[in-house]
């Protein structure tokens, strides 16, 4: 029931603001912890005493916020909550995330790549806590700042907002028998806990005794921890501190929330506690939905802002990147390239749920990356590849929401559960193509990966054929084989896709298809030897040559892509060089093929194609790349020098 580690940083805080995010919230108004409620609103509806509230919260006081989160979809909701929190915060934060393994993997990567100053994150295993009730053990708080008003009574240890629905009144339907509560009861969507005093009061013991006793006569709780809190408070009303309604504005169907928001000038926490969430019926729902959408689509990169006057250690990776960026020369023609390499974009892994499959010896994940302008390729790709996919999507926060709607509206995409979408949030002017590939590659869960591009459609049989070929070739005992999938190109949208090699060859002969980049860059695939492939009945080995960039199937633990190649040019070529340098064997499969479908040039490519400095910068990257190759492979790297020096 208790977290395994005792976070040391918590020691500094007198108070813990605990938000049990069972549904999702939106923060409006500045979140300041209990000691800094809005001066408009009395600390307690029943007392209007003068509180020097601000003095209780020094400018840089660390605030603690706990959030419960489990699963893929909740992880997206928590990000929206955190964005709103970061937008309004004026203080350093320590987030305590109580998660399952899925949410932990997502949120850990997210915060690691988000690198927000003055935000610490700790994780706790949700399975270790009963009934959603989390109490962290803390050392005694610091003495409170001197106050000219009398201190709060010692017994008030749980701050709560009154329930705005009629649930605990017990009259919602015939035989409606809720757990006991004081009056309308309290809503535990937002809880302010005085941990030191709760501990002194033996809270763990208190709630368990009450719960056990009630369970003798009542059925299981309907509202989990909320029922338990209310039952305890019914018995010991002195424990509760009534918080102003703006700290937990409850938007259920039949809510008294309007009483609250039509008078208040400053809302603090909005709580969609209806099971209908944003679709709840309420005459002002549009207003609250708009506030929610604000943070849903908010560019999270903008929240990486410092807190002035509050010294804090930047996240270690952030510091390193910042130091490296400080050495860049803004006047350098290749500044954008160098800057892009020193950018670590935020990553939201598995943006949509996936169902994990049992691992098999020979299974293969299609790995690719895309941005918004290639979204319309996804349906066709799903039709051609029934196997697992790991896709990195380069999107803004707002585009990520468009992407969600696109998937929801597509029967083909919504029906697929073995496609993992990893959102990499846009940052910087150059497309980080190889970084995206690496994100998708790292998340592939099968032993092999098919490293493809999003605008290729494989022959329908490819997934089965690859697995059969791997088995036949006994690849598990040959760890350094790259299976080549020959690439073709259609210049027409309306292609009757060939179902077999024979059909493909017929289209090729009829001039309806070409080998890939036949017109503009035949060198890229020349070593595949299309003439030999035409006749081949069995896999055949080919040798690397300059500019070779085939689409390959390799073990998942293959070398990463070199992320210095941003924008366009040399990104795949460098990877194939790396495979060759590591002595991978290139085997062309006789029945495998994929066809590139036509599309308009991307915005990114047209933005830079006309830039005359572009080629020079690319050459500089290639030079660096070769220096690295020489360092790692010594004289063997000489082989690649001519290829790297071509224009």
């Amino acid at each position: 029931m208790l977290p395994r580690g005792r976070p040391r940083a918590l020691g500094a805080a007198a108070l813990l603001l605990l938000l049990l995010v069972i549904v999702f919230y939106l923060f409006d108004g500045r979140l300041r912890g209990a000691a800094a409620l809005d001066e408009d609103l009395p600390w307690d509806h029943n007392r209007s005493a003068c509180f020097p509230l601000r003095s209780l919260l020094p400018k840089c006081e660390l605030l603690h916020v706990a959030i419960v989160c489990a699963g893929y979809n909740s992880s997206r909701d928590v990000v929206t909550l955190v964005k709103s929190l970061l937008f309004y915060r004026k203080n350093p934060l320590h987030l305590h995330l109580v998660t399952d393994a899925i949410a932990r993997n997502i949120l850990d990567t997210l915060f690691h790549t988000w690198m927000v100053p003055a935000v610490a994150v700790s994780f706790y295993d949700a399975d270790e806590f009963q009934a959603g009730v989390l109490i962290l053990h803390l050392p005694s708080p610091k003495p409170q700042a001197a106050s000219s008003c009398p201190p709060l009574p010692d017994k008030q240890v749980i701050g709560l907002v009154e329930n705005q629905s009629d649930w605990y009144l017990g009259n919602l339907w015939k035989n409606h028998r809720p757990w006991p509560a004081l009056g309308r009861g309290f809503n535990t969507g937002v809880i302010l806990l005085r941990l030191d005093r709760l501990r002194q009061a033996g809270w763990e013991h208190v709630w368990m005794v009450t719960a056990r006793r009630l369970l003798l006569t009542l059925s299981a709780t309907s509202l989990a921890d909320q029922d338990i809190f209310n039952a305890v408070i019914k018995e010991q009303p002195e424990l509760v501190l009534l918080l102003p309604c703006v700290w937990n504005l409850q938007l259920s169907d039949h809510t008294r929330a309007e009483h609250c928001y039509s008078e208040a000038s400053d809302l603090k926490v909005i709580h969609w506690n209806s099971p209908k969430k944003l679709r709840v019926k309420n005459k002002h729902v549009e207003f609250f939905r708009n506030l929610y959408l604000t943070f849903l689509e908010y560019d999270g990169n903008l929240l990486r802002r410092e807190l002035f006057g509050c010294p804090s250690q930047p996240p270690p990776q952030a510091e390193e990147l910042q130091r490296a960026r400080a050495h860049l020369d803004e006047e350098d023609a290749c500044f954008e390239f160098q800057h892009q390499r020193l950018t670590m974009p935020r990553v939201h892994l598995t943006f949509l749920p996936v169902e994990l499959q049992l691992p098999r010896l020979y299974d293969v994940t299609l790995v690719a990356q895309l941005s918004m302008d290639r979204l319309q390729m996804l349906e066709a790709l799903c039709g051609h590849w029934p196997g697992p996919m790991s896709l990195a999507l380069y999107l803004t926060d707002a585009e990520a929401q468009q992407f969600l709607r696109f998937v929801e509206a597509s029967p083909v995409l919504s029906a697929r559960h073995n496609v993992a979408y990893h959102v990499v949030y846009r940052e910087g002017p150059l497309y980080p193509v190889n970084h995206l590939r690496n994100v998708a590659l790292a998340q592939a869960l099968t032993s092999y990966v098919f490293l493809s591009d999003i605008d290729f459609l494989p022959v329908h049989s490819l997934y089965d054929y690859l697995r059969a070929s791997m088995e036949q070739l006994e690849l598990s005992s040959r760890p350094k084989v790259a299976l080549v999938v020959p690439a073709f190109e259609s210049l027409h949208y309306r292609l009757s896709f060939p179902a077999s090699k024979a059909e493909l060859l017929a289209l090729l002969d009829a001039g309806s298809l070409y080998t890939f980049r036949y017109h503009v860059w035949p060198r890229g695939h020349a070593p595949t030897d299309y003439a030999r492939w035409r006749e081949a009945q069995a896999p055949y080995r080919v040798q690397w040559a300059a500019d070779y960039e085939p689409y390959v199937v390799v073990p998942r633990d293959c070398p990463h892509y070199d992320s210095r190649f941003v924008g366009f040019g040399w990104n795949k070529v460098a990877h194939i060089v790396e495979l060759d340098a590591q002595e991978y064997e290139f085997l062309v499969l006789p029945e495998a093929f994929a066809i590139h479908m036509p599309h308009a040039p991307s915005l990114d490519i047209s933005r830079f194609r006309s830039n005359p400095a572009y080629r020079d910068c690319l050459q500089a990257l290639k030079d660096e790349f070769h220096q690295d190759l020489s360092r790692r492979y010594g004289a063997a790297a000489l082989k690649y020098l001519p290829a790297l020096q071509q224009s």
Copy 2:
């Protein structure tokens, strides 16, 4: 010097908050007018008197904000300022916009289509004010709310923040001779004016006398109105009320602003008063830039939120639309179509500067609409059409910024000054194709328009040829002629574009080009009679037939597109029906042509193509359309009935 109209609503206000937006600002913190400065901050650095500030500003008190704005680019900046203001406001607002004719046209349309509740807008002609100083004549203010603290001294009538640069110290360079000021002087980027008392004090006379006297010995002002305000205050220091620094945080190169923001917890107004604007060098510039970007990219639709508890008249069009929307049935299969028609998206006309050309009898503007995924067509289109264009772009606020960067990065687009881009902000799920066309059409300034689509490239000579043809045909005396530009189609990206009809025919014969939609929908252009066109030496007349949707050149005052056709289908066809019903004559030009370039299907089209209800809803729209035709044209509309009843 005075506004022509005296806005009646101003009478209710005791105070006018005047923001002279010479550069641009960002609002952070709640803008509440003078009577509600943050309680942290004393009203005056020199006095810490207890002020019941809040009592001076009742919950729904109307606040007045004046902003100066001239030209295309400033209009974009003012929108960002207004967005931040709307985001933080808690009160009804009356904006007083002092503009030139360009900004007025843009902002008038913007606010008309934005329809923000509890925001009134008045315009004033900037040319009528000298030195940027605006004083509105107001009736006497209401008596102030009772206060337990002594009232402010009567003389303090101009609230200002101290200058954060060293300008007025007069030591910036040798012989630097600024106008006189008190100490560091004051910055007039943000001014709080007590209009009633200023009027009593004869302000108009005061500043003019001072300015005239100083101009006898000093050269012209360097900083316009700021120099005059400072000179007056130097002579009469009792006029000034020192505002806390957070109300005008000045981000110039050598600024003392850090003293301010590292101590304050709540910034109110951020002022980029360096000529370098966002590129100013400052160690925390990234922080402020992020805040600025927040509002730059903020979805302005989300700011259409009500003020709870403050009754206000909704904008009249908003009320009408709302009433109509209230009658819609959410369960209706065509709900989205009906809802989209009742949406009036925000419009920002001439998002980038245009240079107006002298009107000519025969000139023609290319009219088209596009969204982000067709941006890459613009450069090619500019290459094919040297004449004026009026383009409607359907974008989110964030995409509008991407669009700006795209134009800046393109030498072709930045060099063109006769292309007007009108941003229509995305709203709702269906593409409002005909509304977009109408926006672009209404902004065309030549007497004729070429109604095209963004994915067509006209033959290079088309612009000159059209003007010559119009002259030859003496169109000015034939107001109901529609010149047809025959449409062709390339299925390849790499098309060597035909320079003449002869070259086009050769490509057509070689199978490299087709007549438009030859494979999927030949009826759309059949009446153009391609066989006849092949041989034609002179314009020939053709008759309307079902499904005809040619690209035409018509007078600018032609009928509008029917905006009920949203999404895809029948949008152009209906317009051609309307032209025919109004007895326009269709004349095919023998040397004119345009070629459709291939592109991936848009996201919008793929989202709905698979929707089975789509066709039914389209048929319902067509039925309605025909009812309208019958109403307007009587029996003559019978001609169109069979066409409207086809599937």
